[in-house]
């Protein structure tokens, strides 16, 4: 048991990772469900009304976690993709492909909820300021990554080509993050700064953090299930998959 936990390297092969992914996926699925339900309850019934923006500010509880996740997932995805490119490990590339759609979903949600917030706050659904523009670019980078991989038949070429695109796009992430500081734009600055204290009502802060962790668990759950599907597709000609399927292995 203990040797199994220690030997992380072992999990870099799809054979060993497949069952682990199943368990991880299930667990984080439950965690995500619980955290998000709690988070939703708090955002509507516990968190106080904002003195400036009234009830409209509650959008923050999806907008901000979604925006963070969209950036975070991108960095993780690019990391896996880069690892696949350099070390030629199949599993890391599969992880990258598994993360992309979820990242795109969060990027879309940050745009969508941002627009639904912007209309009452700024009076416009959309403006071309630095943060919004770079967030839109992030969304298109996800789409480009997926479209590129989808149009390449040879899986290894798809992995490698996608990795290059993902790595080039990493430049965009710090730009999004710091855009509000570098240019004074319409968009709000970060209320919660890395390392620094928060300038926010603690209940609001906790609600947001709970939602964020819920989204986080959600992303892990979905990515794990997706990576299982990808592993099965890519490794379908190997004996271990055939054996697994023969055994009817529910993993």
């Amino acid at each position: 048991m203990s040797s199994r936990l220690i030997n992380w390297f072992k999990f870099s092969s799809p054979v060993a990772f497949y069952p682990l992914a199943g368990r991880l996926g299930a667990w984080s699925g439950w965690i995500a469900a619980i955290l998000i339900v709690v988070g939703l309850y708090m955002s509507f019934f516990v968190a106080p009304t904002d003195y400036k923006q009234g009830e409209g500010y509650r959008i923050i509880y999806v907008h901000v976690p979604a925006a963070w996740m969209s950036m975070f997932i991108y960095v993780v995805m690019a990391g896996w993709a880069g690892m696949g490119l350099v070390f030629n490990t199949r599993l890391s590339s599969m992880m990258a492909s598994a993360l992309a759609p979820t990242g795109a979903l969060f990027a879309f949600l940050s745009l969508w909820t941002g627009a639904f917030w912007g209309k009452p706050m700024w009076g416009a659904w959309w403006v071309w300021d630095a943060r919004l523009t770079s967030a839109l670019i992030l969304f298109f980078l996800y789409l480009g990554f997926m479209a590129l991989q989808a149009s390449i038949d040879e899986p290894r070429r798809a992995d490698r080509a996608g990795a290059i695109l993902a790595l080039v796009g990493v430049v965009n992430v710090p730009i999004i993050y710091y855009s509000v500081q570098w240019w004074n734009t319409l968009h709000q600055g970060a209320t919660i700064k890395m390392g620094g204290g928060a300038s926010m009502d603690p209940v609001m802060l906790w609600t947001m953090l709970i939602m964020t962790f819920g989204f986080w668990a959600y992303a892990i759950a979905v990515a794990m299930i997706r990576v299982q599907a990808i592993i099965l597709e890519r490794e379908r000609n190997t004996t271990w998959v055939t054996e697994l399927v023969k055994a009817g292995g529910k993993a």
């Binding site: 009234g54 009830e55 409209g56 959008i59 979903l105 949600l109 639904f116 979905v222 997706r226 379908r236």
Partner: protein
């Protein structure tokens, strides 16, 4: 209750955001599970066919 849904005049915006977020975040896991299951089924069929062939 009605007051709650009105969200102090921001109903459209708040529910437009939360609604879309919830719908998409409910749809994605379903789609992914469906994808895994259909891959699994396809492989099971291939394995079955192969074992019949070799028989």
């Amino acid at each position: 209750m009605r007051e709650f849904f009105a969200m102090g005049g921001y109903g459209l915006y708040v529910w437009g955001s939360f609604g879309v977020a919830l719908v998409l975040m409910a749809a994605e896991p379903l789609l992914v599970i469906h994808r895994r299951r259909s891959v699994w089924r396809r492989l099971a069929r291939i394995v079955r066919l192969q074992s019949e062939e070799t028989k």
